[in-house]
Symmetry: C2
Subunit: 352 residues, 2 copies
DNA sequence: GCGGGCGTCGGGAGCGCTCTCACCGGGACT
DNA sequence: AGTCCCGGTGAGAGCGCTCCCGACGCCCGC
């Protein structure tokens, strides 16, 4: 706690008095200064400076119905998903972009049903201009709630319903090219002369896991389906899956895991049973989660996605949509911002 | 983007009309319903329900001068520090506690000087009721700015000035017992019969690094100062430091690293030069950063801090301070909330 | 049976801002 | 020379809410 004597903050009125102009003029200057002659602008600026005037956002919002704030909703931050730097990087990207536009970031973390209701109410309450939503699971009710709330929204990661082209309003999302990345990884394994290539999939109620699996399948057109094991994105899950796979196919010579954590688990099992990586079994992960991918022995070859960039893009898309709204109401050139899929890159280290 | 036709949200007035009462009565019901007779309360509640009324926070703030929102300021989220789940967990703890009190979380990430000014302006602008601030570096101007802004604040981690008892206003912070945890780690190494115990310190412009070093010194009272090497909290730094130490003391038999990342780096070097862990050299880290500590080989013995709990506590302390303010203005029993230092626990795995 | 007090309720002012509109002056045009 | 127009400025209304205060019962006590 600091200063308990809350000094009364100067108001527009006070600035106007000091500058010898009307409230309206001060307001104009504060909001860009268009239509005010230079000498007056200067006088007002100085008064603002001297008084340390800061606009009262509440009063402003009351009349403009804008808040210069967007909500970032992160659903179900279980320890597992929260443990990786994914969201931190997204947030950083989002924050940078929002800052550029003088927009605040209201963070909403949810877990469990009642939280969903709370978030729904908050968004519907019109406290923010828009929302950036991360919802990982197929059965998550949150996206539906949000669409109901009528708040402009951009999703992080392709939401589940966005694959079938429903008759619904267009959903804007930013995702990385999970499928393409997976394809590249598997192709790389194939180019190494590997033929028995297994896949440790993530939880298949997430589009990212499904897409990576699809990418694998794109390349391994007629592979034995038993080469695919679904796990849970954790190292322990990766271990179990690896053991399972080794049991089924003692002769397998490559593994593509749907994330680095599972790859790390798989790596431990491989080493434990005496398989050399990459000589006997080549291994590729996904995410390029640095503290893991660089720390394994050997360091992990993996598929990198530019997570911070995803965040920036989400924010940019949302803001663009918002200003379109405020502007010509409709029909402005450019049309509705549409979804973006960012490219991935294969990072070659030692494991494949 | 969704529904472009923004439906006009119902106002207090509308609810009042529908319930056949006055605005004032609706307001009373919405804010707890004290002093309104039951049948009326019920009627109003129903009207609220039917109209889907949500209070306009801006209008409310305008008169109450409260915002039901606190800022979380995270200074300098360099990739290194942002890469570990530390902030994510803190945020989760903070979010949970704030949610309990119907309080919003405004996230402010900063990097660089101009950002500081921006944050200072924002806080001084009175847009939030309080602030939770994470500032890691000794020379960070942010804490000063914030104190200047006159916003109730709780710090995450002991700020640098809080050690000397200045005549300034009391600073409230939440920290974990870095020094005690370090002591416990080093004592554990000693109890294993190790005598040549080295310390890989973190960047010493952070109080956490300094405290951990102090804890080491508390136990190793007359150790050779050359057993201490300052590194930068990264795996690469840990590697360099380890090599340095091995050069100086080929006979060292234990290492306490100020975080898990450096411990992981040290571990790689030890293995590379053929030292067995823990047989030849025992190794302890700090943080219990799961994706690292559990993935190393052998798994890392380390000092755990309950990060989420720290977050919760910070929020609780701040909120308590805020309600004291709003309440009896001053002199309420209980006094100013004071800083809290949370205990750490030694997690024994295989490396020591 | 009557006055004071308390518990409920409504009226109204006003929080600080934006925005519309009326006003005013000067240059260009008829 | 008079009129029109237009850029610049000020006055005033009103955004949706809270909170103060005054009005109105109602019950209790004398």
């Amino acid at each position: 706690m600091s200063d308990p004597t809350t000094a009364p903050r100067p108001t527009l009125e006070a600035v106007a008095a000091r500058a010898g102009v009307s409230r309206a003029t001060v307001s104009r200057v504060v909001n860009g200064g268009d239509g005010v002659r230079e000498p007056l602008v200067e006088r007002v600026r100085q008064a603002v400076e001297e008084l340390g005037y800061v606009p009262n956002q509440a009063a402003r919002s009351l009349v403009t119905r804008r808040h210069d704030a967007v909500a970032v909703v992160i659903a179900e931050p279980e320890t597992r998903v929260f443990t990786d730097p994914f969201f931190a990087l997204q947030l950083r990207g989002i924050s940078k972009e929002l800052t550029l536009h003088d927009c605040q970031l209201v963070l909403l973390l949810t877990e469990g049903r009642d939280d969903h209701a709370r978030v729904g109410r908050y968004l519907a309450g019109g406290h923010v201009d828009g929302a950036l939503v991360f919802s990982l699971h197929l059965d998550d009710p949150l996206p539906g709630l949000i669409r109901g709330a009528g708040v402009p929204t951009v999703f992080g990661g392709r939401p589940c319903w966005a694959d079938g082209s429903r008759g619904t309003a267009p959903t804007v999302y930013v995702d990385s090219d999970n499928r393409g990345g997976a394809r590249e990884a598997v192709r790389h394994l194939a180019s190494l002369g590997r033929t028995r290539i297994a896949h440790i999939a993530g939880v298949l109620d997430q589009t990212s896991a499904v897409d990576r699996l699809d990418g694998y399948r794109d390349v391994m057109l007629d592979a034995d389906p038993r080469l695919i094991v679904e796990a849970d994105f954790t190292p322990a899950g990766g271990e179990r899956a690896m053991r399972e796979l080794l049991g089924r196919f003692p002769d397998l010579d490559a593994v593509f895991a749907a994330n680095d954590l599972m790859a790390a688990g798989a790596l431990r099992v491989l080493r434990a049973v005496g398989r050399r990586v990459p000589e006997d079994v080549a291994l590729i992960g996904f995410d390029d989660m640095l503290p893991v991918a660089e720390q394994t022995d050997p360091p992990l070859t993996t598929v990198r996605q530019d997570i911070e960039q995803m965040g920036r893009l989400m924010a940019r898309l949302l803001l663009r949509g918002l200003e379109r709204r405020g502007g010509e109401a409709a029909g402005t050139p450019g049309g509705t911002p549409s979804s973006v899929v960012l490219p991935t890159t294969l990072v070659r280290r030692a494991s494949a």
